[in-house]
């Protein structure tokens, strides 16, 4: 006990890290489920259904499958880099998340802020520098497999990432001008952050003044994460599976998780930069805690209805009762500890919307051709984001003489 009181920094940090890792890993797993479900609905299918109620245990099954598959290492591959690549990818992806604050910095336990693993003064730049290293994972994977398609995939992805990183960074600078800081939590709730309202009802989120920047950002972000419609590095129709063709079992899983972790990261960043992070759109009154309570309550009710009517097997019913309990627990937490629960609630809600957007894009959009990709990135996206930056700067100067 007194160890805790003596080293609050160490303890709280460790706890935070562990918690984040656990949450993120779970989220990654269930994102796959979410994605498959949504895409299935778009294609009017059921999606995973039988492994667990509504396929709730599907991710678990996948994990097990990945773990116990045979791990093939191509003999002609460059072994060191071949092993290094997936680790690099996943580690960097997870590290990036550690910089994301999901709540106000002034909420503390033992005098330590709880809502961010580390609150760096120039968090944004660090975030970008870490994500910029993400290229290595893909590129090295492509090169070290020492076979045609992965090499092409690696080449494509590195070129693509370099190209879109520029626009990504530029599109954010506009927000930086408005916020006047590089610290992520200051960007949200700093002196000239995103708290407050225009005309008393439009929340002061950067997305409204920076709509162009936001569009550039989200486009570049999708490209950075190699998602549809920019998933050329793993275009199965052309390159089998692109850079991770030669990867099997858990190494492949690492790439997989890295990709989803990156998605989460960029979504978090988008939320923080453009959508007021953890701020609620209603000004954060005391009554707001009823919103999540109602939502979770409704979900619980729906699950109960499901148990009653839909689900046949007793196991499924049991599982769903657990889910119901979970929802009720969440509702309770939101009701009794709003100051700890509300910010993450809004934050995660927003991220959820972004995730849905990702899946939606995947479900609807066709893939670019490579030259289209490049010319789009360099000839459209870059100039637009530059123009946005210039305009923002000029307007800012005019408004702050």
């Amino acid at each position: 006990m007194e160890f805790i009181s003596q080293h609050p920094v160490l303890v709280v940090s460790l706890v935070k890290i562990a918690l984040t890792l656990f949450v993120v890993m779970t989220a990654l797993a269930y994102l796959t489920w979410f994605e498959r479900k949504v895409v299935a609905r778009m294609q009017s299918r059921w999606g995973p259904y039988y492994v667990g109620a509504h396929g709730l245990l599907q991710p678990l099954a996948d994990g097990v499958k990945f773990l116990f598959k045979e791990d093939v290492t191509p003999p002609s591959s460059d072994i060191v880099t071949y092993l290094l690549a997936p680790f690099l990818a996943l580690v960097l992806a997870l590290t990036a998340i550690a910089l994301i604050p999901i709540g106000p910095p002034d909420v503390t336990v033992l005098g330590q802020p709880v809502f961010a693993v580390s609150n760096v003064s120039i968090g944004l730049i660090f975030l970008f520098s870490i994500t910029s290293l993400g290229v290595y994972g893909v590129a090295l994977a492509g090169w070290s497999s020492n076979s045609k398609y992965p090499l092409m995939g690696g080449l494509r992805s590195s070129a693509q990432m370099i190209s879109y990183e520029v626009s990504l960074t530029l599109s954010v600078v506009g927000v930086l001008l408005l916020a006047g800081t590089l610290n992520l939590s200051d960007i949200v709730s700093g002196p000239n952050g995103q708290t407050g309202y225009w005309l008393h009802f439009i929340p002061k989120w950067n997305v409204f003044p920076q709509i162009v920047g936001f569009l550039c950002y989200i486009t570049a972000a999708i490209a950075e994460t190699n998602r549809v419609p920019f998933d050329l590095p793993e275009a199965e129709t052309e390159l089998v599976a692109g850079f991770h063709t030669e990867y099997s079992s858990f190494k492949f899983a690492m790439f997989f998780m890295a990709e989803y972790a990156n998605m989460i990261t960029v979504s978090c960043l988008a939320t923080i930069l453009f959508f007021g992070g953890w701020l609620s759109p209603f000004g954060g009154g005391e009554w707001e805690k009823f919103i999540p309570v109602l939502i979770f309550g409704a979900l619980a009710v729906y699950c109960l209805y499901d148990i009653a009517t839909e689900l046949q097997s007793i196991i499924h019913k049991l599982q769903f009762t657990i889910v119901v309990g979970l929802f009720l627990a969440l509702a309770a937490v939101c009701f009794f500890f709003p100051q700890y629960a509300m910010p993450p609630f809004w934050f995660i809600l927003k991220i959820g919307i972004f995730m849905f957007f990702y899946v939606w894009a995947r479900g609807t959009l066709p893939r670019f051709r490579y030259d289209q990709l490049m010319s789009f990135g360099w000839k459209l996206l870059l100039p637009v984001s530059l123009a946005n930056l210039v305009v923002t700067a000029v307007v800012w100067l005019v408004m702050h003489p």
């Binding site: 460059d78 060191v80 880099t81 290094l84 760096v120 003064s121 120039i122 730049i125 660090f126 970008f128 520098s129 870490i130 910029s132 290293l133 290229v135 290595y136 590129a139 090295l140 492509g142 090169w143 090499l151 690696g154 080449l155 590195s158 070129a159 990432m161 370099i162 990183e165 590089l182």
Partner: protein, 168 residues
């Protein structure tokens, strides 16, 4: 707190190892990776030296852009192991030894250059350089060189375009 010293030596050793690795490995991409290692460890040292922004930029630009470019080119040209030809006798018999001599010279000289008491870290150390101060210096005092570098970059881009075009 002994921590800074540990970090320093860890990073220093890592950097030196990376540099040595850069020399001895034959695969260009391995050299590139070892150089990235050097850069990252240097970035950590910058953090230690209270220059977080520089550290970030070091990673962002050096490791994240320049070295990626190198890797990209290596992959593009599919550069295999380098052949250890020795067509330059002078480089073999004089260059390398002299290189080491220079190494010793500089190290020795620099080591004695500053009185060893100069505090680089710890309690008496000045606060880390704030981004604001940095940008102020860059855009006020050093505006002209800054603009000059922007022109340099532009010219470099054009030059790269002209050089790399195939249909010449």
């Amino acid at each position: 707190m002994i921590a800074p010293l540990i970090v320093f030596f860890a990073c220093a050793i890592l950097a030196v190892l990376g540099a040595i690795l850069l020399i001895i490995v034959r695969e260009p991409i391995h050299s590139a990776l070892s150089l990235v290692v050097v850069m990252v460890s240097l970035a950590i040292l910058y953090l230690l030296l209270g220059a977080p922004f520089v550290a970030a930029v070091q990673i962002l630009v050096y490791a994240g852009a320049i070295m990626v470019l190198f890797v990209f080119v290596i992959m593009l040209l599919n550069a295999g192991e380098e052949e250890r030809t020795d067509w330059s006798k002078i480089a073999k018999w004089i260059g390398l030894p002299l290189g080491f001599v220079l190494l010793l010279e500089i190290a020795h000289w620099l080591f004695h250059s500053e009185p060893g008491t100069a505090v680089a870290n710890g309690v008496a150390a000045p606060p880390p350089a704030s981004t604001f101060a940095l940008s102020t210096a860059l855009f006020r005092q050093y505006l002209l060189p800054f603009e000059a570098t922007s022109i340099l970059i532009l010219i470099a881009i054009l030059g790269a375009l002209v050089l790399a075009r195939k249909d010449q």
